[in-house]
Amino acid sequence: MEVQTQQKNGATVVAVTGRLDAVTAPDLEKTLAGLVDQNQLKIILNMTGLSYISSAGLRCVLSTSKKLGAKRGKLILTGVMGMVKEVFQMAGLYDLLTIFSTDEEALKGG
């Protein structure tokens, strides 16, 4: 799994690629927790390059969403598709989280 972070129009865009499973999720959790601690409160998590996600990955997303909510921040997901979308749907989370197709839409509407 690889994580690339960049600032864009007042938001932090975190692009994650590869697999988000029980082994790799703690690394993403650490990266996102660090951003929240630094008060980066609008985070766009771009999952376009993610080929696989398990409950460990979902836990990381939920935990970050809660931490941001507590600070009146926001987590937005983009590029959720394929198997990753299916897993979010199975968990009943796809309609609950803020999800846009692209970073551009997320920056405009999120």
Partner: protein, 139 residues
């Protein structure tokens, strides 16, 4: 059409070995001719079942997991995950409440939910001091 396939793999129950277990199962599933999207779901279920054991079965220290996978054209894919850890019926855990808002959701419980939702049949038994979880995927 592939003939019957079988694998048995025993490794220490820690996450360093997760990739090896998953690679073995996906390799067998590919050999069986399963579609890529189906293999991903098999992999997900396998991960969730294994990680439960890795996280909870051996609180005092080290132990191992035996993963057996068998594929036949008539019965589909049968996974058996066996450990000698603390007695734990993973199927008896309460299901997650999917009606809660995202920020209300407790963080756990999803792994077992996926196993039950994806597999055709899941059973647990405690036999000879072992937890045995059997997961069946329809052919």
């Amino acid at each position: 059409m592939a003939s019957n396939l079988q694998l048995d793999l025993t490794l220490p129950a820690n996450k360093e070995n997760l990739a090896c277990f998953l690679g073995a199962v996906t390799g067998l599933a590919e050999g069986a001719g399963l579609q890529a999207s189906r293999i991903q779901m098999v992999e997900l279920v396998t991960e969730e079942a294994l990680v439960n054991v890795m996280d909870y079965a051996y609180p005092e220290g080290d132990g191992s997991i035996t993963l057996s996978a068998q594929w036949t054209p008539s019965d589909g894919l049968v996974l058996t995950i066996t450990d000698q850890g603390t007695p734990f019926d993973v199927l008896s855990a309460p299901p997650p409440d999917l009606n809660l808002a995202a920020d209300q959701r407790p963080i756990g419980g999803l792994g077992i939910h996926f196993i039950k939702k994806i597999a055709a049949k899941v059973t647990y038994a405690r036999t000879d001091g072992r937890n045995v979880l059997t997961i069946v995927f329809a052919p």
